[in-house]
Symmetry: C2
Subunit: 154 residues, 2 copies
DNA sequence: TATTGTTATACTCTATAACTATA
DNA sequence: TATAGTTATAGAGTATAACAATA
């Protein structure tokens, strides 16, 4: 195997049409490429974008509850249970009782969790850079600003 | 019900961190919002983004084969079978034999398919505009150009 | 031998409802 | 009554392997 042909004929043939130029479709396709690159990079750490995202939110000092994780990641609370279960089983995060609300549990990353996140983060950022390699640093910055306005509507 | 609060507390609290500013995450979140808006709009026509995408590619005059559809949409050929089955069952598309390759089948939209696509397209474009309402026409144009470079790498 | 479409199957993801303990 | 977390379950989406017909 010498060079993997990233772009083959059908894509060229079909991309010019109602769909291929649609903003939502471009968003979806760019995201699909980005997600599969990230998942490939994360596989080495037994993580996926989902579990990596939870880990990322949990190793900071925001100390989110499961409900907050669910809302931010647009997941059902029951899905977050499974994700946190997994991280907890692997010693990467812990459930702590919320002092002010005894129903709620605050999720915090362990030292092992922080360490794994650090290396996983470097790997995903490398993969991400690859996916966005067609863009300059300035263009990436601008793209992030634009996407932020869509991702966090008021 | 007067005004649905689109943005609640946890999102504000968590969006400033390693994850919330990550380009890939912003892409994923923007796409999630876009997809769910599109699916809501398409539900009225018994379509989803998947089936709508196939329909869109099939009502033009590119006459793609199933393999081409699979490759362009980044789906497994077996998934395309199910999608085309559904469109065919509903009289929106037909499988025609490819003259030059008797293994392949060319998928073409029927008149009903073209008509449904036309109205569904208006609905999705309305929904899309809603999602991207924070952006000006010029910004949307620029965003499309940028995403195209990620979505169709060379 | 390789490829197109197909079938079957298993696995993951997602959505929903119901339950408990707290508020 | 409502909310946080949990459990169970069913449905949708995804990935894989194997097959027939054709190249």
């Amino acid at each position: 195997m010498t060079e993997t042909p990233k772009q083959t004929v059908p894509v060229e043939r079909l991309r010019h049409g109602d769909l291929g130029d649609d903003l939502s479709f471009l968003l979806a396709r760019a995201n699909a490429l980005s997600v599969s690159a990230a998942n490939t990079a994360l596989a080495a750490f037994d993580l996926k974008v989902r579990s990596y995202s939870v880990l990322a939110l949990v190793v900071g000092d925001e100390r989110p509850s499961q409900r907050e994780l669910a809302e931010f990641l647009r997941l059902d609370p029951s899905q977050v249970v499974a994700l946190v279960d997994d991280l907890e089983r692997r010693g990467l995060a812990t459930r702590l009782p919320d002092e002010s609300d005894r129903r709620a549990k605050v999720i915090v990353g362990t030292t092992a969790g922080r360490e794994l996140f650090a290396v996983a983060r470097r790997a995903t950022q490398r993969a991400e850079l690859e996916v966005h390699s067609a863009l300059s640093a300035k263009e990436r910055e601008l793209l992030a600003d634009t996407l932020r306005r869509i991702a966090y509507p008021r």
